[in-house]
Symmetry: D2
Subunit: 366 residues, 4 copies
């Protein structure tokens, strides 16, 4: 295994390199009877495409998805769904330079150490294009969740020093701003900051926040497959993510128990919590309140200023990366975070279906 | 599956509740020929036991491990190793109270929602005693790693507002201080802080840091089973961990690419990095430098001050938790973090053994 | 992994050697709320114990099971169930002889080749005692199936040349005869045959048949996890099984399509088949009729006549195995076949619960 | 999971329906550095294509494979290999009839029971075309095995009453005869028998035998993942296989221990067995001798004579299947058996690489 499969029940296997003929994903375990059309998936893929903005790489990929199996007359059949997205604009160009040295912050060196050689064209399998399969399959997971009343909403929380103002939260802005910030004023400030980065041949990092609503209490397994652990594995498997938080996250370390505990209360609609420091997860299991998490993304490693490194012959050299690269990864990773959360959550929802004899008996007695 | 198995190659399955007859773990996939005695494991279990200090629960458990299978004449045989640790001092006492309501910050409510009822004695499966199986199996993983030249060292970085001074790093202090801090002066300050917490019927959180040295470059898989993702899943599956960082962690979000990239350089001994913002992992694969990670632990949820909550009949009530509980989870979780990292790492080391035809052929041609 | 785990949802991990302190199994994924007591399991373990008959080894093992976790107040909690069966009568005796050579028909040679050495006492992990964990966990799987209206019944179909007469089928005889044949007259003939084998210092093989009733149509997955493939893997993993059949089995190779196809017909109670050549499985999925399978068991390899073999020094030698061994494996394997079928079936029943959106939605809308 | 993944290390996931745009497979876990070209795979796919013979369906499919990922400059890169085979000649024709009723011997009824509806065009996912992904990935597994000195050879042993004469074994005939028999005379007789079947609007079954040479001793895991169990699961997962044997197979049930045990002997080249009743597997682990297995295939269920069945409205009807169908499945399944054995074996070979500390240490010390 090269670890390209995620999930045990809703199990997705991604494949493809930046400059191969196509990328794609096979989903095994999608239940039968889900209405599914290419548009459902395309909508998500379009969100990860570079926009026509000042902060996006000009690589023009249509990224059109084709459904090759598992769907009949507009509905899933229960058998594997194969999705393919052809690479249309890859120009292998002159990669002989990249082939010969190790770019700082990239996986060139570690791939060579692991496999003995690498597909160096555009980063090969370690390219950001690898996330296409995650997004295409995550779109289906998100559709299943929606039918169960569960919504996932990720957005940019900060870029470099610029953070959104939660008081100005504007959900429509997420898909309308270049930064995917839910705050148009912060978006403008962040663009100025990014412009400055580009002028300095530099790049910026940032934070993605994700909120999941409608999750029933009881999802997640008590030991190794905690909901928090699965979401963490899902999000930390995205290239460039270097930290992960649930709820109050790192702040819990400085809090006292009396501040951090969420009191329960009951009203006519059921049992709730007065606060949500826990981010919707207690003992690894969803508690019915909003699930809140954050991913910390490193700055784009491809920068245009001069850098020191080593070539394949083991010589110390100076390089200057060419081509054009986004000055920030964050905005295009927002939909990837959303999709990885959807994949983790669907898997655990299916996992949970045989948690009690009552439920199994009522299932099989229908 | 209730998710009690971790690892695909070095696969451990833990079992046991706080007040059952015993806890334990089965390790499937331990290679044959490893020298193994009960002392190798007991050494680790002793590190997670409450010490005779002011900040430890007085539950007196000897926590003596028994090897029930998989070892013959002092060496592992390649077949499953079953380890059992009897519970000797559990007094079921009067748990009828806990049984009837949901403690804030605990898994009482979510277990009831998931399973319909729960073993409420001492938290049952969601008790901190669940980590015994992790530590017992992690001790074996750590022993394998040691034979391969890999060492894992975790310690307390901070408790509440008190942090260690890296300039004073004293490795021997880790196992000698009550806080597991590698800085005896910070340890004293932290104890004062904890005393204050206890006087206020409150509790504290903190940060555990872990350093792994000797890992060859090339470990970790490029997509979902990245070394970072596996370590994250391992550590975030420990109860009370709410955030996880690799290398510079959350700080990367505010850094610029020129600051965050680690330059490569070569000398006679091979290829290295000038800095280690990446925490030893590039593209999800180890780069040969030290692996550095941090876990953020919430304050003990069992506090003695009055708290609001709900009982099983759905009535709003006030409670005051009795018994005695550690005012901080961090020190006893240090060895758990170390063990979970060992489990994740051994698994990926074994995973990596069929990464290339060269290596497979030389393996089978011996 | 040394492959000691079976099942992905109802996942059992067995451990233990013939002459270690104990054997056991951990079941992860047993749903909460199943009534479970030690007697439920003991009943099955007693069926695999040597009886006080002329064809059983006189090793006297009480084989008493202990439930160590996962059950609270007589009901399963949803967390791992750990079962332990102490070895009470193992006398390591003088195994130095066995240690030094390779018994024909046994795993001595292959274990040495794989692991470099072996726990030779009584066969170690390759002993028939390894099936204790299968039976203990299978008893729980069978109990779940019973609650869903599914019954599994295995019995001895033949021993050497003696077969049961299906016209005389007497279910009570299965647990009352020494051979586990459902035909008391065949049982007597088989005992005579076995006596003759023993007099000749020889042993016999035989056939176990298994019938599963009450399985709803739709269980099994269409490609690699076909019900037939899973049952086959389950049964062929029992030591000494060398062939496996579903329905008409090997006879289908000589049949014509017009003979082998089972015609469908409908009546008021639903859709049925006029015949059952298929053994209850079509396209790998249960069709609602009885599931019928057979396992072919080799003769006990431990025979008392002189045999040629090789010792660990690579010298050709003659040996004569001592001690006492059952002249036939079949009767004690009957309950093992039953239990392995139960494990395979429960796993696929749980697998099937997320086959369609309708069912998932109705599950989560309760 | 709909169970479309086989193998834990060399993990293949197949997808595709008879009448969709394409079929394919993703291989995750193929080691880097294997020379691989489309011809390597095409060679195997051509063997499963209908030949231009009297016993083959005239559906004309070119079945040309495309490598979409995981190969760079003629060598595998260690990342997932995606293979696609477009469906070129599917004419959806008039399937409304098949859509409305349940063909005896087919999976129509069980799919409807499982999923609520089905892709009825040409059998959808339950079509024999599903095996394309098995063969395409098995070709790669076979290539790896070849580099390790392991060869797999399957052939038709019998069709209906016609069996090969082992004394006339002619390996070249396997790929040159219409029946894939290694005996040209038996091939002619079998063709006559099949012609008679066709005249009677009927079909025939048969037996496939498979021999695997060059497997080192020590492959296979001692309990559930025995080599025999894995091969059985692999072969029994092929549609139409109803029985499976290792070595002497069903014959062991009637043999005596003194007949069935294989004596060991040593010579200058090592340790061997005088006979091979065990079929190369002892205690579930390869013993270094030839592995021998057989699969029993049912007659083609699509026959042209009138059959009784039920339609989707639950009415009893008579049907006559149209179109044209092979009168026997066996010859085209020969390469499928070979490929499934290759997949099972590669997986266990990789599994075995961390069986002992010695080997792990020497691996990581290079």
């Amino acid at each position: 295994m090269s670890g390209s499969t995620f999930g045990k029940h809703f199990s997705v296997t991604t494949w493809g390199e930046s400059h191969g003929p196509a990328l794609g994903v096979v989903i095994d375990g999608c239940p039968a009877g889900l209405s599914l059309h290419e548009e459902d998936i395309q909508m998500y893929l379009n969100r990860r495409k570079p926009g026509a903005t000042s902060i996006s790489t000009p690589r023009k990929e249509s990224d059109l998805v084709q459904i090759l199996s598992g769907v009949f007359e507009g509905r899933t059949t229960g058998t594997p769904i194969s999705l393919m997205i052809p690479n249309t604009s890859q120009k292998s160009g002159d990669y002989s330079e990249i082939a010969s040295y190790y770019r700082p912050g990239h996986a060139d060196y570690t791939f060579d150490q692991k496999y003995g050689f690498r597909d160096y064209r555009g980063g090969g399998r370690s390219s950001g294009r690898e996330t296409i399969g995650r997004v295409a399959s995550g779109a289906i997971a998100a559709k299943i969740l929606k039918e169960l009343g569960i919504e996932i909403c990720a957005y940019t929380k900060s870029i470099g020093p610029v953070s959104i103002n939660p008081a100005c939260f504007d959900r429509t802005a997420i898909t309308e701003t270049a930064t995917c910030m839910p705050d148009r004023s912060a978006d403008q400030k962040a663009l100025l900051y990014l412009q400055e980065c580009m002028q300095n041949k530099d790049s910026a990092g940032g934070v993605i926040e994700c909120r999941i609503t409608g999750v029933p209490a009881g999802i997640g397994e008590p030991v190794f497959d905690k909901l928090s652990a699965k979401l963490s594995a899902a999000v930390m498997s995205i290239g460039a993510v270097k930290a992960f938080e649930i709820g109050d996250g790192i702040a819990v370390a400085a809090a006292r128990g009396s501040e951090n505990n969420d009191a329960f209360y009951a009203d006519k609609t059921g049992i709730h919590k007065k606060t949500n420091h826990a981010g919707g997860i207690l003992g690894g299991i969803s508690d019915g309140s909003e699930i809140l998490l954050r991913a910390y993304i490193k700055p784009t490693p491809s920068i245009f200023s001069e850098q020191e490194t080593v070539n394949r012959d083991g010589e110390n050299i100076s390089i200057q990366i060419k081509g054009r690269h986004d000055p920030v990864i964050v905005p295009r990773a927002v939909v990837v975070v959303e999709c990885m959360c959807a994949l983790a959550l669907v898997d655990l929802l299916f996992f949970n279906m045989n948690a009690s004899m009552d439920k199994i008996q009522s299932f099989y007695q229908k």
